[in-house]
């Protein structure tokens, strides 16, 4: 594996240089929020951030995406595809938990049987550069409980680790190596490796918040009707904040929008927390209350995804914990389930 050292203050310069050659997504400070946005050559990336407000999943799975266009012509409908229009791009500076989420989303959108052309095209054309958490940013971080690591490289093509004065850049995949030219030519030595290992161990240790994520699967298998489900949803507002902030939530809705003879088919995010999510045309709703919706969210993350893909659909970023307007804490929910 190719490894290099780069000076700390050159990082923003590297991102900007890349932005001259391709599309670069980087954390940007926008008023009080840090968000992932595309930066131009003159854009100012903000790397001194804890973690971005929203998950960077929108790079591959945008909130709203045009699937196809259609036009009514005298000869019938004319359709045009919108897939595979992804440009070469770089996602610069995501946290390892978010990079991990891409590996999880790949399992769904890029399976053998079903391939989502829109997601896959963007994913293949994007190089993910992760920035390790030397110090866990939030008290609500729990990545180590869900197969993640604060200095982990799962889902990333390049991993940057702050080892004091320099960044250690590790080129994990061949896709990452193609960008090596931007990272100078200072080769990393064994001392840097040792330093990184030490930092990684320390960071892992520093994550205080732990949940029994793996233990709950067999419990969830047999407790679909447990009265416990009556106890968590009481204060839930039925807003979509948790699912929209979540790096792994991926449910979507498809709708057509037409104006005159032209129309587009859109895919946009949906949320299992919305009453409308499961409402049928007849008016019947198989998940009539917030209880069933909450059970679905917990089950999907910790049981169904494990059943389908043998992985927990949570990366422990803590965004849902921090942004829930009524402080429902998924860590507490999992903890309580483990005691059933």
């Amino acid at each position: 594996m190719e490894k290099r050292l780069i000076k700390k203050d050159t990082l923003a310069g590297i991102a900007k240089k890349m932005a001259g050659d391709m599309m670069v997504w980087a954390p940007v400070k926008k008023e009080d929020n840090v968000l992932f946005e595309t930066i131009g050559k003159d854009g100012e990336p903000f790397f001194a951030y804890l973690n971005s407000k929203n998950a960077p999943k929108n790079v591959f799975f945008p909130h709203t995406e045009t699937l196809m266009k259609f036009t009514r012509t005298p000869k019938g409908m004319a359709f045009s595809s919108e897939a595979n229009k992804a440009n070469q791009s770089v996602l610069f500076g995501v946290r390892p938990c978010d990079a991990h989420s891409f590996a999880l989303l790949d399992k769904l959108f890029d399976q053998e049987k079903y391939q989502d052309a829109y997601y896959v095209a963007k994913r293949q054309n994007t190089t993910v550069i992760a920035m390790a958490c030397v110090k866990p940013p939030y008290a609500s971080c729990f990545c180590t409980s869900v197969d993640g690591e604060p200095v982990g490289s799962e889902g990333a093509d390049i991993l940057l680790t702050d080892i004091g004065g320099d960044y250690l850049a590790e080129f994990i995949t061949s896709k990452g190596e193609k960008l090596a030219q931007y990272f100078g030519d200072a080769k990393a030595d064994a001392a840097a490796d040792a330093k990184k290992a030490e930092i990684a161990a320390k960071a892992k240790e520093a994550i205080q918040s732990r949940i029994p994520a793996h233990e709950v699967k067999p419990i969830l298998d047999v407790n679909f009707d447990n009265p416990f489900w009556n106890t968590i949803h009481g204060k839930c507002l039925a807003c979509g904040t948790c699912t929209y902030m979540c790096p792994t939530c991926h449910c979507f809705d498809i709708s057509d929008e037409v104006k005159g003879a032209d129309g587009i088919r859109l895919r946009s995010w949906d949320s299992c927390m919305f009453p409308l999510f499961t409402k049928e045309t007849s008016g019947h709703n198989p998940r009539p209350s917030q209880k069933e919706r909450w059970r679905q969210r917990a089950m999907h993350k910790f049981k169904y995804y494990v059943d389908n893909f043998n992985a927990i659909a949570c990366v422990g970023c803590g965004r849902c914990v921090m942004s829930c307007p009524v402080n429902i804490d998924i860590r507490k929910v999992v903890e309580d389930i483990s005691k059933l």
């Binding site: 009080d32 804890l50 407000k53 909130h63 939030y138 008290a139 979509g240 929209y244 859109l266």
Partner: protein, 273 residues
């Protein structure tokens, strides 16, 4: 507040009118909560004797997002209120801020921080806040040019990601089916198109004429920090200046859009009268 209406509706479901029993629900209410209750009562969502209101005076509550900005975005691990100070353990060391510096905007200029109606009152009345300044922001915004105002509106609406938290938290937003969720006809697209978001927010805001009690719920739940209050307060100001009404400020008042005052309502908005 939603639960209250839902609970009442559920208790009356599939019950013949003559068999209906009153279900009394207790509510612990601050000033703004009682205003919402008055609006519900005026809009006949339940009867006055179906709620038991336990009134509590209110000194305002902390604006969580503002607090976070104040301490430079650090992660708050633990906190306590001691006198007029908030003491916190954060990822960036121990921090202390004055309570009055981080109160929500709606609380700082609150006119009704003591319950307007109640069955039982707890505690002694809270000292007045600073209601004279309540429209300062709006006045400042009104003085800007048309393009500046439009630029601000579009900038704020671009933050919105359509999670509906504002609608869900709002005590006055209780339509069984929100216009956003109607599909025949579809009022507004479900995507993140700029115009769709603007129309969604505009319509929701405008539905608050005579109904927004400035409780600050929508602002405090918004994960993206959209400045909704700047617009809601204008609606409140118009309602006061045009019709002399403050939403939910008294049981005797009719909702302002439900009546008309021949002698005092202005005519100047009518084209070619």
């Amino acid at each position: 507040m939603h639960d209250l209406i839902t609970a009442h509706k559920n208790s009356q479901k599939r019950v013949k009118p003559e068999d209906r029993k009153k279900k009394v629900i207790g509510v612990v209410a601050r000033g703004c909560t009682t205003r919402s209750l008055i609006i519900h009562l005026q809009e006949r969502q339940y009867e006055r004797d179906e709620v038991c209101i336990i009134g509590v005076p209110c000194d305002g509550y902390v604006d969580g997002k503002g607090l976070k900005v104040k301490i430079g975005g650090a992660d708050i691990v633990e906190g306590s209120i001691d006198g007029g100070q908030i003491k916190m353990k954060t990822s960036d060391g121990d921090k202390t801020v004055a309570l009055k510096d981080v109160l929500a905007d709606s609380c700082l200029t609150c006119r009704f921080n003591n319950p307007i109606i109640s069955d039982i009152m707890i505690g002694s009345p809270a000292p007045a806040m600073n209601p004279d300044a309540e429209y300062n922001d709006v006045k400042e915004f009104e003085a800007k040019t048309m393009e500046e105002r439009w630029a601000y509106f579009t900038k704020e609406m671009e933050k919105c990601m359509r999670c509906n938290a504002c609608r869900q938290a709002c005590p006055s937003c209780y339509c069984p089916t929100c216009f956003v969720e109607q599909s025949q006809p579809q009022w507004v697209g479900i995507g993140e198109d700029k115009s769709d978001t603007q129309v969604f927010q505009f319509m929701r805001l405008y539905h608050m004429v005579g109904r927004c009690v400035d409780c600050g719920s929508c602002v405090s739940v918004c994960p993206m920090g959209v400045d909704l209050r700047k617009f809601l307060k204008k609606i409140d100001k118009d309602c006061w200046e045009m019709f002399g009404n403050r939403a939910g400020s008294g049981m005797e008042d009719m909702p302002p859009l439900g009546k008309y005052d021949e002698h005092h309502d202005k005519q100047d908005f009518i084209y070619n009268p």
